[in-house]
């Protein structure tokens, strides 16, 4: 049952999650210090209502608010060998992974899903910064690559919500290899003539910005997001020069020609839909035209009542990704 997996299951999971964080009822705006009640913040897509400051948004919420009716199928990606180097710094990497899994309720740092956006089928990957800083390791690289291949297979645009501190250092050279591996995925999207839209969220740095996150057809950033290759502190130590206040912000990158636009979260879905529909040469009216019945019916209702079409994802993709092995 498609809707059980994609709609009910995530909601049940959320019930658990909410119980785990009762202490964070009020959230402070980092810019103004204003306190916002968590429900109000959630209702406003984690954007502080008065200041417009974009807080980090939970990865699952990103998917739920992006897809019509919050309905999506998670794309199952292949398992990878966890902790290939039996890495240990001040802590065991395997313990860090366990903790990240317990805390986030996710297996790894990237979620891939398919669903509809204003009736248009899209494949979306979301990088979860809460999972070891959204770092790009073997599992994340595999998920992105396979997500891109899924988009090619099903002929959909691919949207990448990037958020990462960079490579997963604990996986050594194998994390670095995710830069070329994900780039192969970008090339396949390009050859298939499918739009690849990157949304740079706070922060997108290091090996992630230096690979798939800077190879989109269109680069969109969220307001205030930090985007760059090297960290601010590293640069300050190298050049011994005071950097501008807005250095490496989305707005700074827009000025320097690295991104196409800065778009507030509330307008993200419509912007991505508009760009995709132009590039896919699809008329914007199409979702409405599919519903010959009276005026008020929304496209999302159509999606539910419409019989299975070529758009419907195969059932096996509806399952959750299995834990990495």
């Amino acid at each position: 049952m498609n809707w059980i997996n994609s709609l009910v299951r995530p909601k049940i999971r959320d019930l658990w999650k909410k119980r785990e964080v009762p202490e964070n009822l009020w959230i402070k705006c980092p810019e103004t210090g204003e306190m916002v009640f968590h429900r109000d913040l959630e209702a406003n897509l984690w954007v502080i209502p008065n200041s417009g400051h974009h807080m980090r948004m939970p990865a699952r919420k990103r998917l739920e608010t992006f897809f019509d009716d919050g309905a999506y199928d998670t794309v199952k990606t292949r398992g990878v060998q966890a902790d290939p180097h039996k890495f240990r710094d001040s802590k065991r990497y395997s313990d860090r992974l366990k903790e990240a899994r317990a805390r986030s309720g996710e297996d790894e740092a990237v979620l891939v899903a398919q669903g509809k956006v204003n009736g248009m089928k899209m494949t979306v990957a979301v990088q979860n910064f809460e999972f070891i800083a959204g770092s790009l390791g073997m599992a994340a690289g595999e998920a992105i690559l396979e997500g891109m291949l899924k988009a090619v297979e099903t002929g959909t645009p691919f949207v990448m919500f990037a958020a990462s501190g960079g490579a997963r250092m604990q996986e050594g050279i194998l994390s670095l290899m995710q830069m070329p591996r994900t780039t192969v995925g970008v090339q396949m999207l390009r050859e298939a003539g499918l739009p690849y839209i990157v949304v740079l969220t706070n922060p997108t740095t290091g090996g992630v910005s230096a690979s798939y996150a800077m190879l989109g057809d269109v680069h969109i950033a969220e307001p205030g997001a930090m985007i760059g290759f090297a960290g601010r502190r590293v640069i300050e130590q190298t050049v011994r020069e005071k950097l501008p206040e807005d250095f490496q912000t989305a707005e700074y990158l827009l000025d320097h020609g690295m991104i196409d636009m800065v778009v507030p979260r509330q307008e993200m879905k419509e912007t991505i839909f508009r760009i995709s529909s132009i590039l896919m040469k699809r008329e914007v009216e199409l979702p409405k035209l599919e519903a010959p019945k009276p005026a008020e019916k929304t496209s999302s209702e159509d999606a539910e009542t419409k019989p299975a079409s070529a758009d419907a994802a195969p059932q096996e993709t509806a399952d959750e990704a299995e834990p990495a092995r």
Partner: protein
């Protein structure tokens, strides 16, 4: 005269004794030092062999960064006939950290990318210590596209501690420049070989190392982050660089085992800096045989070979 690394001290001591004996003999003292000299020389080379047979990853890091180690310009000079450097990215500037050009390798026209660190203060500054700026990667893209147009194989010599972290580099899109160079290198329809000759420093290295065949010199390193960087971030203690070097798996031998690289080029006992001509010759032979292995493939086959190779990395031991 060599500058000795700390772990080479036993060898330095023996060599010191050899110098003393020679001075003694030259001073006209009536002693027969020949037997003793022979004995010491044999001991010196044996000690060197023993030390280099079991270098730790951290010791390899020091060898890979050795100031006397042959650099990219020497490999190019030794292996490429008619080398003709090409300057500039046609967009902003010339970047001497990445030397690009065309020439002939074993009689065949080739395109060259080479990261150069410099060997003294003046050249180090000129080459920015091998830390490439966006312009360098954009020049690389330009030359790679030329390689494609003229159906020339591409040979890259990788030696960088990493891409340059600077204000201008960020403003001019260091991330995008690296990503694009990686992208173009992966998509080339002409055969490519990359040799990590010293340090393969993270994204700054991968940008020119997405080749059909990736080789490493025996004592080169290739890593997602420098051991010092990992120590300060993960251990929060820069003194842990030695542990980090081991944990990160950065040696040619580790990478070969992981299936990340295709081959290792032998260095003479005591490292590349003790026999530069031999090591450059070894590299030439390895590049030649790598290119021969790609001979006769169509552009599509070349591209497919490269893609499948990178996609397979890490999947084989799942």
């Amino acid at each position: 005269m060599h500058s000795y690394l700390e772990f080479e001290k036993p060898v330095a001591d023996i060599e010191g004794k050899i110098q003393e004996l020679r001075a003694l003999a030259a001073g006209g003292e009536a002693v027969n030092v020949d037997d003793e000299l022979d004995r010491l020389k044999a001991k010196s080379s044996q000690t060197l062999q023993e030390i280099y047979a079991k270098l730790t990853p951290w010791q390899k890091t020091l060898v890979a960064r050795h100031p006397d180690r042959p650099h990219a310009v020497e490999y190019v000079a030794g292996l490429i006939e008619d080398f003709t450097p090409l300057a500039g990215d046609r967009k902003f500037a010339e970047d001497h950290a990445l030397i690009a050009g065309i020439g002939r390798f074993r009689g065949q026209s080739v395109a060259i990318l080479a990261q150069e660190k410099g060997h003294d203060t003046e050249t180090r500054l000129k080459h920015n210590f091998g830390m490439v700026r966006p312009e360098g990667y954009r020049k690389a893209v330009r030359v790679m596209e030329m390689a494609e147009r003229f159906a020339m194989p591409l040979i890259s010599f990788v030696d960088t501690s990493g891409a340059y972290p600077g204000r201008g580099a960020e403003e001019r899109g260091q991330s995008e420049a690296i990503a694009r160079s990686t992208d173009v290198g992966l998509g080339l329809g002409t055969p490519s070989v990359a040799v990590v000759i010293g340090e393969g420093g993270s994204g700054g290295a991968i940008a020119i190392a997405t080749a059909n065949k990736v080789l490493m010199m025996e004592h080169a390193i290739y890593s997602v982050i420098s051991p010092e960087g990992a120590a300060s971030i993960l251990w929060r203690d820069s003194a842990k660089a030695q542990d980090a070097a081991t944990a990160l798996k950065i040696t040619a031998q580790d990478l070969k085992q992981l299936g990340v690289i295709d081959g290792i080029v032998d260095e003479p006992v005591g490292g590349a800096h003790r026999a530069r001509e031999i090591v450059i010759d070894n590299a030439g032979k390895a590049i030649e045989s790598a290119l021969q292995g790609l001979d006769g493939m169509s552009p599509d086959e070349i591209r497919k070979h490269r893609r499948e190779k990178f996609i397979a990395i890490g999947r084989n031991f799942a």
